[in-house]
């Protein structure tokens, strides 16, 4: 068997999957987006830009998603980083494995069940009742953007912790010692050695969380009480309620385009950051 054949064989399973589950459906969506809604729902083939012209009608959904997805990503990062740092650098090796498993434990239950738990926790008999007990009255948490944010941070935290943990765990501890030996105080070591070296982990974590958040629909539907409307919710409604597949496809295409643009800008920024660090290293 030639090397060439072997390479093809190695790529075949993933390639087939990629073609069948990504390229083909995306092409179908693209074709649908130029069609029209059939009278009883569904799609009739056509070539019209009407669906794209209608996109502003879902502006609020895009606005909500593009606000809460970055905020959620940032909040998850701010909570995940210290945790990952503790796990990788400070935690007693004896406990490390157990602590790591504890981070994944929530993933063993469906997000749906966990969101139901949050409905109770944030509902009138949960946290607000506790707050009332200590004298803070009239707090409403459930069915607000805040509740959605809590659900997002909770649901996506492990996805942020792990990449950062891995990058910090691999960090060569001798670099930290060197920094300290050369007289840098701990905060300076952190800012100039630890943090830059964990950038790949931060980048991966943020990307994972952000991309998944852009398509989120369950958490806003359950913790937002149907009042916090994401693009994901708009899509569910367009395909399952009003059965306007053509318009739904156009919204889906718009979402993919926005994501591609965001991710491209993000990668550019990261590369530039990486390049600058190399300059510093050479100096």
């Amino acid at each position: 068997m030639s090397i060439r054949t072997r390479n093809w064989l190695l790529l075949a399973p993933a390639g087939t999957l990629f073609l069948a589950l990504l390229i083909v459906p995306l092409t179908v969506v693209l074709v649908f987006s130029f069609g029209e809604r059939a009278p009883a729902g569904g799609v009739v083939p056509a070539f019209t830009l009407e669906q794209y012209a209608n996109l502003p009608a879902r502006w609020t959904a895009f606005k909500n998603t593009l606000t809460l997805a970055p905020i959620g990503t940032l909040a998850a990062l701010l909570i995940a980083y210290p945790l990952a740092y503790f796990l990788a650098v400070r935690a007693d090796p004896k406990w490390k494995t157990i602590l790591l498993v504890l981070v994944i434990v929530p993933f063993w239950t469906s997000i749906l069940i966990r969101s139901y738990a949050w409905i109770f926790l944030l509902g009138g008999r949960g946290l607000p009742a506790l707050l009332e007990w200590i004298g803070i009255d009239g707090v409403r948490l459930i069915n607000t953007p805040f509740a959605v944010l809590v659900g997002i941070i909770y649901g996506y935290l492990p996805l942020m912790v792990f990449p950062i943990y891995v990058s910090l765990d691999r960090l060569d501890k001798r670099l930290l010692e060197a920094s300290s030996d050369l007289g840098a105080p701990p905060w300076r070591t952190f800012l100039q050695v630890t943090l830059p070296l964990s950038v790949p982990g931060i980048a991966t974590g943020c990307m994972l969380v952000f991309i998944l958040l852009m398509g989120e629909f369950l958490i806003p539907a359950m913790l937002g009480g149907g009042k916090v409307f994401f693009v994901g919710n708009a899509l569910v409604d367009l395909f399952l309620q009003s059965r306007n597949w053509a318009y739904g496809s156009a919204v889906a295409v718009a979402l993919v385009v926005i994501m591609l643009i965001t991710v491209t800008i993000y990668m550019r920024l990261l590369n530039r950051l990486g390049a600058r660090r190399d300059d510093v290293a050479i100096m």
């Binding site: 009138g124 008999r125 409604d237 309620q241 009003s242």
Partner: protein, 386 residues
């Protein structure tokens, strides 16, 4: 470390099931704690070890039947009895709206054997060639003469029978009388005015264009089924004005009403009955302006994978003895005279199940065009994303 699984243990499940059957917990609670009600309730097929083996060698209807239906709409004991009698397990998919059911069938490959469409959808299903005409020779328990035609005639299209009646009911609202200060609510006008006033942050509307827009139209005294652009524009104005005052837009209103977060919600008969039974302060109100009356049906989609089992299940559920138990469990009335003979007098006189004649006459059946009108769908989307 303890073993954590994503489902509850069999023992715990059986305990909850028994508590549920004894009536000490609500159906909703049962579905929630077991995770069965959340999205897809899987009875039987996914938990075969829990259910009794058939008492005798079953015929050849196969080992399962897949049912697409609404939440809180069946007595789990009936399915168990069906399995014992036939050997076929009932696998149940729960849906939130007729649109969602239609979308799944239009997309194809739903895999359903029986589903439960509402009156106004049946002509669309026939037009789209998605359901098959029923073979009444396989439904000996179906006696057309026993049904009030108001609740059975939508099952026939162009003289052909496509669907047989399950239950009927109304769409009104539930209100927690602990918060009304002794005022008795009677109208949709009050529903919306209260929502924007003393009940701000406490009212819920369905995540369903048909009822939410329909009942907003009722505020102005327009038809529940209106597709008139001017009338819809007025309804939209009301909906957008009310939106900041709503607790939620959701058809899953029982949990919020039960825990006291919401004080008022649009509601269907059976939910009204279930809530009122457990919490007498919750009242079910039909607006004096009118609103919706509906009838659900059993139907078999084209290409049902377990067609014989589908007929067997429908026939089993139409058996007056079984049907009476179902009504007692879910609180939705049936139009079948044979079943009604078996029901207790108190239930047949229940004002929630059988509202006063003057309230009933004001109600309208939903129309096919109300469901499929693209303007209503877009109005709902604008309301939700406002």
């Amino acid at each position: 470390m303890t073993k954590v699984t994503d489902y509850i243990s069999k023992q715990k499940f059986m305990e909850e099931l028994n508590r549920f059957r004894k009536g000490s917990i609500t159906r909703r609670h049962f579905l929630n704690v077991t995770g069965l009600g959340a999205a897809t309730a899987v009875m039987g097929a996914a938990l075969p070890g829990l259910l009794a083996r058939p008492a005798f060698a079953a015929g050849d209807i196969g080992d399962r039947v897949i049912l697409a239906t609404w939440p809180n709409y069946h007595d789990p004991a009936s399915f168990q009895a069906f399995t014992e009698a036939t050997g076929a397990h009932v696998q149940m998919n729960v849906f939130g709206s007729n649109e969602e059911m239609l979308a799944k069938l239009q997309a194809g490959g739903s895999g359903w054997d029986v589903f439960v469409p509402t009156n106004y959808t049946i002509t669309t299903y026939v037009g789209e060639d998605l359901i098959e005409p029923l073979d009444t020779s396989m439904l000996p328990n179906y006696d057309p003469a026993a049904y009030d035609p108001r609740f059975s005639d939508a099952g026939s299209v162009d003289g052909k029978l496509y669907a047989v009646p399950k239950n009927w009911g109304t769409t009104g609202f539930v209100v927690n009388n602990n918060h009304t200060g002794g005022h008795k609510m009677t109208s949709w006008k009050e529903f919306w005015d209260m929502t924007m006033d003393s009940f701000s942050g406490r009212a819920m509307v369905h995540d369903y264009q048909l009822t939410t827009i329909g009942n907003a139209l009722k505020y102005f005294g327009y038809s529940f089924n209106s597709i008139d652009e001017k009338e819809l524009a007025e309804a939209e104005k009301l909906l957008i004005a009310a939106k900041p005052h709503l607790f939620a837009i959701s058809s899953d209103y029982q949990p919020s009403i039960r825990n006291g977060d919401a004080w008022m919600s649009m509601a269907w008969t059976g939910d009204g009955k279930q809530l009122n039974t457990d919490m007498p302060e919750i009242e079910y109100v039909l607006g004096v302006e009118g609103g919706e009356i509906w009838s659900d049906y059993y139907a078999v989609p084209k290409g049902a994978p377990h067609r014989d089992a589908a007929y067997a299940l429908i026939n089993f559920l139409l058996d007056p003895q079984v049907n009476a138990k179902e009504v007692l469990a879910h609180g939705y009335p049936t139009a079948d005279a044979h079943t009604n003979k078996l029901l207790p007098e108190s239930l047949l006189n229940d004002p929630i199940l059988y509202p006063a004649q003057e309230l009933l006459t004001a109600l309208e059946f939903g129309a096919a065009v109300t469901l499929t009108d693209p303007n209503r769908a877009e109005l709902m989307a604008r309301f939700k994303s406002a």
